[in-house]
Subunit: 108 residues, 2 copies
DNA sequence: GCAGTGCTTGGCGGAATGGCCAAGCAGTTG
DNA sequence: CAACTGCTTGGCCATTCCGCCAAGCACTGC
């Protein structure tokens, strides 16, 4: 794997890492339906606001969401709706994995 | 976020986490062109075989690849070709991120 | 200005991840 | 059986991630 190839896969992995957390996936899902302020997302996720803010910073750094301050609130929007397509594939993987778990369980 | 929703996003995150590493993405890419034994992948990735083996175990646990022992070698195959679709979207994210980096750099 | 709200950042402890080396294990070959 | 190959597993260390609390910062309103 040469340096150029390495760099390309590093970049891809960075985006996937940004998405690879349940709370962040949930927020992306919520934001696909429209912008939300941090307070709303905090409420929905059910974690400390500082935690949610840091998750949003991760998504922002990856270019997946953008923030805009309006008045006292900061609104986040989904910049990469195409990431939603991930879910279709992931669901497929999940369905098979679940089936295998059942299979393994029944063997035991 | 109720327990059921939590479980769904946990499951999705698990698959994304399995993919969120440069070496693992590279191996998925290689496997999309056909099966490979661990020794070949080790050679291509350029890491210790034990490291590669552990990465493959992560992909296998997520249901993304499958292994089959034939003779002295273990061959891995891609079970979820749909994960390749991720890359199109990731490329798009990368292109925009790169553009922003340039922008930020030029401002400095 | 000062108190209050909304958000971000710093910091800390605990958990998970990733890499290598070494040891173990299965299958092959002499 | 003994030596060898291909792979996996255990263990260790360094690094990163993740959650909360506390502090700081920006804007609003009294």
């Amino acid at each position: 794997m040469d340096a150029k190839t390495q760099a390309r896969f590093d970049a891809r992995a960075r985006v996937l890492k940004a998405l690879a957390h349940p709370s962040r996936l949930f927020m992306v899902d919520v934001l696909s339906q429209g912008e939300r302020c941090v307070c709303e997302l905090t409420e929905m996720v059910g974690a400390d606001m500082s935690t949610v803010s840091k998750h949003l910073a991760v998504l922002r750094a990856a270019g997946i969401v953008a923030d805009e301050k309006r008045g006292m609130q900061v609104y986040y929007t989904l910049k990469m709706p195409c990431v939603l397509r991930f879910f279709d594939c992931v669901s497929e993987v999940m369905a098979r994995s679940a089936a295998e778990y059942v299979e393994v369980a029944s063997i035991r």
